[in-house]
């Protein structure tokens, strides 16, 4: 961003900061009305009332649709207009009269404007140079529903919704701890959004917490609507394929991460939560790995690990084997492939590229397509990709199997970002293997591994605790039985490393 813009912005801010409320109700009201372009802007609701108990006029401002009408009437308008002469004289201030869960005194216009914009109701009283901001915000949102992306068979079925209040309640329900801290930050220059940083004070490393806060404060953006955009603002390497922030819609996972000393970021109007710092394993795991019994959990992890490699490498291995190392194929298979490839016009790399692109196309189309015609695309896609392409001699049948397998395997990768990373790097490996066969693939693996090893997410190595080694509960490719996971992962640098007492007689460290 050019320095010119920066300068401008700071200027604006200072000007706003200076503006303090007048001692005159009319003037204050006029100022607010002009700011919101009042009569033209039907969004702002303005109401004048007379406060009997203190014999003064009062003005109420709030924005239609952001505030809870019933609350305003019951807690503000009704108490204010009621005669409460029974009250003792010294108790007769506005704060006591208004019956709301939260009320603040504000003396700057920019604060007042900010509060109106988050749904509060502002009460201005004649002769007061402060405004009262009453928490009446209420936004429309979904009810708590099942998670859509991260399904489990065994385990809780609640997902975050587009309300940070509900999201927090979902979290707090799982973590009843006095040290669970919710910090609020406001971001966005033009449209304000509230970001909540959640961590457990005596677990999360304060460096990481500060780093997160710094990064969020440093954001210079007009507006950040959702947490997905926020993720891109605070992540480590914007150009890299490697995600450095976990994006989840499951409160139970977030709670588990918080207990390990991670930091979570919630945002109003977003049905997801960011967890950071993350490692490869956080992206690779699902909640269900823990909910299922030890053996079952490990089984599904093995399956997922295999599917990760299948999704990444199968097409490139096929190319390497069929164009460079044909002696590796069993003779029967070799002859079968050769026979079907005889009338295919393309070299195998083009063939694979066509099919892989077609599959990706199908996948993208499947997401974009309106739900009612969704099933159709499956039939059409399967027909085009499978039968017809083979019968038209555009691809060989074995390739359909390979692409289908790869596609299937890629669906088993739990995290959306990880999924993209694998799917895109697959094409990189394809090119490498078509050039140099196994040598190409291995060069690719060497480069990939060394790259992954050097990536850091908020100071935590991406492949920790495997490389570099850190003491942890060995919760990586496999996991130990839950009662043996007595130690918190050291790579997140928690303040307290021990989860519980070391299980007697059976140690894992």
């Amino acid at each position: 961003m050019s320095p010119f813009f920066k300068f401008n912005k700071e200027n604006n801010k200072n000007e706003l900061n200076k503006k303090v409320l007048f001692n005159n109700l009319e003037k204050n009201a006029r100022y607010l009305k002009t700011t919101f372009c009042y009569p033209r802007n039907k969004g702002l609701i303005f109401r004048e009332i007379y406060v009997k108990s203190i014999n003064k006029k009062a003005n109420i401002f709030f924005i239609d649709g952001m505030a809870n009408d019933k609350n305003i009437i019951d807690h503000i308008i009704y108490p204010l207009s009621e005669d409460i002469s029974t009250l003792k004289e010294e108790a007769k201030n506005i704060k006591n009269i208004i019956k709301a869960k939260d009320i603040k005194e504000l003396d700057c216009f920019h604060e007042i404007i900010d509060d109106i914009l988050i749904g509060n109701t502002i009460v201005l009283i004649e002769g007061h140079s402060v405004g009262f901001s009453v928490d009446t915000s209420k936004f429309e949102h979904r009810q708590v529903e099942k998670p859509i992306r991260e399904n489990v068979i065994k385990g809780p079925q609640e997902g975050f919704v587009e309300s940070s209040q509900i999201n927090l309640s979902l979290l707090r329900k799982r973590l009843r701890n006095e040290k669970l801290i919710t910090e609020r930050l406001t971001i966005g220059e033009r449209s304000k959004s509230v970001v909540e940083i959640i961590y457990i004070d005596d677990l999360a490393n304060s460096d990481i917490v500060n780093e997160v806060k710094d990064r969020i404060n440093e954001i210079q953006a007009d507006t950040i609507h959702t947490i997905d955009i926020l993720e891109q603002h605070i992540e480590e390497r914007p150009y890299s394929l490697v995600p450095t922030v976990l994006y989840t819609e499951r409160p139970d996972r977030v709670a588990a991460f918080l207990m390990e000393g991670h930091v979570a970021v919630l945002m109003d109007s977003s049905s997801d939560c960011l967890v950071l710092p993350v490692t490869f394993w956080s992206l690779f795991h699902t909640g269900e790995d823990m909910y299922q019994r030890w053996a079952y959990g490990n089984f599904i992890r093995i399956i997922r690990m295999i599917s990760l490699f299948i999704a990444l490498l199968t097409p490139s291995i096929y190319i390497a084997v069929s164009t460079f190392h044909s002696e590796m194929l069993p003779t029967d298979l070799l002859l079968a492939i050769t026979a079907t490839r005889e009338r295919v016009p393309f070299p195998v790399i083009i063939e694979v590229m066509i099919m892989e692109s077609a599959f990706e196309l199908l996948r993208e189309a499947g997401i974009r397509i309106p739900t009612p015609i969704g099933p159709t695309i499956g039939i059409v896609g399967a027909l085009i990709l499978g039968q017809a392409a083979v019968e038209a001699n555009i691809v060989s049948p074995i390739l359909v199997i390979i692409v289908a397998l790869t596609g299937l395997a890629s669906f088993a990768i739990p995290n959306n970002s990880l999924n993209f990373m694998i799917r895109i790097s697959r094409f990189m490996f394809l090119i490498l293997s078509s050039m140099l066969g196994a040598f190409g693939i291995m060069a690719g693996i060497a480069i990939t591994v060394s790259y992954l090893v050097s990536v850091k997410s908020f100071g935590v190595p991406f492949l920790a605790p495997l490389a570099p080694y850190y003491p942890s509960s060995k919760d990586t490719i496999f996991r130990l039985p839950v009662w043996m996971q007595w130690i918190r992962p050291a790579h997140v640098k928690p303040k307290n490393n021990i989860r519980k007492k070391k299980p007697r007689g059976r140690s894992n460290q």
């Binding site: 003779t331 195998v348 090119i431 050039m435």
Partner: protein, 411 residues
Amino acid sequence: MRFLKMSLLLILSLFLTGCWDALELEEQAYVVAVGMDLGEGDNYYITYQIGNPQVGSSDRANAEREPASEIITVLAPDKISARELANVSVSRRVTFSHAKTFIISEELAKSEKFLEVFEAVTRDPQIKRQMDIIISKERAEDFIRNNNPVLETRPHKNYELMDERWKASGLVPASTINRFLQREEEDAGGFLAIYATIGKTDTKANGMEDKYKAGEVDKTGGNTLQMIGAAVIKEGRMIGTINGEENRLTLLLRPHTEATSWYATYPDPYKKEKHLTARILRQGKPKIKVDVSQSKPIITVEAPVKMQILLMRSFIDYVDDQEKQKFLTKAIEGYLNEASMVLVKKAQNELKVDIFQWSLSARKEFLTIPEFEDYNWIDKFPQADVRVNFKVQITNFGKQLKPININKIKE
């Protein structure tokens, strides 16, 4: 910027694709068997059997009249240059990577050129050391052309399955190029190669199922291929043959072998004219002791054998009678000992070569390689004093407890 550079590199590499050593599957012709015969001058007649991919695949309908393999014979100085020469008629690049079998005619094996053939084998990276060597009685070309298996449509499958059966039956030795080169490089013993022929030559009916050489089995119908017995190769030349039974005995007496169980018949000790059929299971390695302190080596072999009696044509009740069992064991041991001594004598006097790989055991007795080489095992073996002692253990008598009472039935 780095991203740009990387993507540029990737795009660039896309254009390089398809160069160099990448070769599509359908551009190659897969040789499944190679045959070599003596040719004129310095040349050989080299035969390639190239598998036809379409035969036996789901694509069969498009190639209904095509034969399962294409067999080409060219006159060329060696196997490698013949590969290019084959391209005068084959449109694809000839590849050895799936060649399973290497067939050499007896004529070539007996000539001085036999070792030269293997020079190319060790140098070419495509040729695997695990290829099987078959010595064919007739010309290798005729062998390949006349080998028409009925059960397997594709020729490679035939060779693959045969390889497995050989290992099991023990009628032929397991002879790979790797083992051959080792024997020749060590220069201490002989090598046994599979001996085979197409068609009957002179059939013998000798009542025992394994006392045949290739071509001697009286068999009608099916493929005319016969693969039994072994060719003995000494110092790079074929010097003789042994029959199926001798080969089996050799396998039992060797310190190592891949064959582990087979069926064999033995004369019944109580009724000499009747036979017993047994399954032989090699039990562990034979204990071979070689004494090299004297000028003549003394070799003591103790070969443990497990035996399951499957058929008793004499109807004698061995199952219940411990005494009879002991007698039977002794008789079989005696038979095996006697037969192996005959074989040892044959190896010492007739073939004059150690076909039992006892040189391997002899090596243990020496501290250094020069000492071993000085001892000159290949010359010492014919004078060696050999004692063979089989230890037979009969483990069971099949699923029937008693033999059928034949007298009762006949009455």
